[in-house]
Subunit: 356 residues, 2 copies
DNA sequence: CGGATATTGGTAATCGATTACCAACCCCCC
DNA sequence: GGGGGGTTGGTAATCGATTACCAATATCCG
């Protein structure tokens, strides 16, 4: 460790300025000098110190990203897509998890700002408690929210159109004959939980069916399982359950299976996200697929266009999702056709039928 | 952006040295000065520039970590545990994915070295192709491998005891009456795939049962599904399948279900890792649980003890895993008892029975 | 052949925080 | 009151890469 451009310059018998120029190619040097410098650099194993460069250039070439947790497969797919998009611009990603805790989130924001990231991408864990730290960060550096956002709308956001998503889910189970539908999701500490519940209530009202009291816990397998047991313990099962994400749906399916309830014959279940194992649970899960790649592309596009201090109004970009019909929902009586049992394995799982 | 310690010093009417000392507390200053400096700092919203500090101190307070992919839930749990361990020492984690490609991996190593991370944690994607870049990196900075490692043993490693793991898995299905067992795993480009196959062959030989040709593809749901279809298409099903990881096992279960094969009555399936949804698939998966927290703790401990250039021999730490018996394996005839159907929901899923 | 112009190399400043070193000052005791 | 010991503040160097600015040399044209 520790071979600097001075060492290279000395070995090549030139000044540091010439060495720097030869290596960066930002100004012409004679072929002779270029040759000597590059040879010295490779011989010494010179590796430019990104820290020094960042200090001098006032730019680090890094983007910070904070998500509530990477245990949730939805966030990992978002992270992967964002990383993929950032390749194009030559930026590296600094990834942090807030562990669903506003205090940790604020600390992470501070260390990323101290590290002088060139931009921030965040999915704030709490609709209210995350707001001060996020708004403060947005004042220092370009910042875009993804999936979740904070109250008040002070920063750009890219996410899914939850109203459209829930409308598709509810209309689908209603088309399959459901007259009573219950929504199982997370408590309302974050924007996704709020918007999805609102979208659900709007959709059931419009469809003119009974909207039972929602079951709100967490976006986890464990909560889905628990909610499923609660449903089993109730007087009568609803005709359908719409879930706030796929983890909940999978846990719920497990509880229903243990309770001897057949899906979709006795009850339909619809998930949200379309994570990898949604197609592999039993039965394969009907779910709303988040347009993750498009969202990541929009986030990066917005990030490049944000200028700190520019009083441009905050943008909100909601991308419409698609319902992926698999086998946890009853066939609709007309129109869309559901997937049959089985089928060959293709890229992402079963032969899914998607509504248009 | 851009309030420096000079600004703070000027506002407080002292020199930069006093300001720095007042803020860091590394040397005494009068209460008067301390007070004026801290007030000026908070009023101006001073945030020390970590880049400048890193340049001066020759230490960044960051640890780089490279895993093949964060889509694989095993790697995300390892990452979470490592991050958790690093909290203690006040280090931040710089996370990268190599996308299972040695070239990308080498690039990521280079950018992390250029960013002068204080240490590196890596799960090298390829047993052979990853070796040069990893060994080179290990010469510059403390480096510990986790889970996967490179050939030749030139760098420290922490992982699971695959021989013990496979012995437990094989002995368990044999105790349940299996006489023919097939191993479904990844192609042998990485150490895990190699060690697990070797462990499987050792275990079957010792148990004196038929070891059928292994099916080797990738550590993915899709490959598990495909392998399951291949088994269905064969002449006769084996009595049991041991899988290289849980993703494969879940995909395989799905294929068997579609083929109308009952698990565990007609065939036992054992996974590897015990990721979150292993307990939630149908039936809940019998699997070998990786001791992820212990591994992460060992990795961090080793990393702190490694000194570059120290000719200490490379350490290899293999931690013994535990078999978690759920419902994809036939009850053993004596000794260990399997879990019954159902049970209440506790922390991580079902009421699992674990072998001692 | 002389001077104008283009090109290339070198010196030193810059980015921001830290700290070695020195100077100034205070307090105390003889 | 003066000297010794202890404490506190300031100046400037440091980390490594980049580049503004200047100097030196080469090139070209009349």
């Amino acid at each position: 460790m520790g071979v600097t451009i001075h060492d290279v310059a000395r070995a090549a018998g030139v000044s540091v300025a010439s060495a720097s120029r030869a290596l960066s190619g930002r100004r012409k040097v004679t072929a002779e000098v270029a040759e000597r410098v590059t040879r010295a650099a490779t011989e010494l194993g010179y590796r430019p110190n990104a820290i020094a460069k960042a200090l001098r250039d006032q730019t680090t070439g890094t983007i910070g990203m904070i998500v509530p947790g990477i245990g949730n497969p939805f966030f990992t797919t978002i992270v992967e897509s964002v990383e993929h998009q950032l390749q194009e611009t030559g930026h590296d990603l600094l990834l942090c998890a807030s562990l669903y805790t506003p205090e940790i989130e604020a600390r992470r924001l501070n260390t990323l700002l101290a590290r002088r990231v060139d931009g921030l991408i965040i999915s704030p864990c709490d609709f209210e408690a995350s707001a001060p730290a996020v708004l403060n960060a947005a004042r220092q550096v370009p910042l875009v929210q993804v999936d979740r956002y904070i109250e008040g709308g002070g920063a750009d956001w890219v996410g899914v159109d939850d109203d459209s998503a829930l409308a598709q889910a509810v209309d689908h189970v209603v088309a399959g004959g459901a007259r009573s539908v219950v929504f199982v999701s997370s408590r309302l500490m974050n924007s996704s939980a709020r918007l999805r519940l609102a979208g659900f209530q709007l959709a059931t009202a419009r469809a003119g069916i009974a909207s039972l009291p929602p079951l709100l816990g967490e976006f986890t397998l464990a909560w889905g399982f628990e909610a499923g047991q609660a449903l089993l313990a109730g007087d009568a099962l609803p005709d359908a359950v719409v879930c706030g994400n796929d983890e909940i749906a999978v846990g719920l399916l497990r509880a229903l299976r243990l309770g001897g309830v057949r899906v979709p014959e006795e009850i339909s279940v619809v998930g949200f996200d379309d994570v990898g194992h949604a197609a592999m649970c039993d039965p394969p899960l009907t779910t709303v697929r988040q347009p993750v790649e498009e969202m990541a592309a929009e986030v990066v596009r917005l990030l490049n266009q944000v200028r700190v201090g520019d009083p441009r109004p905050a943008q909100r970009i909601a991308i419409a999702p698609r319902l992926v019909v698999r086998q946890t929902s009853r066939p609709v009586t007309r129109g869309v056709v559901t997937a049959g049992a089985g089928g060959t394995m293709t890229g992402d799982g079963q032969e899914d039928k998607e509504t248009t």
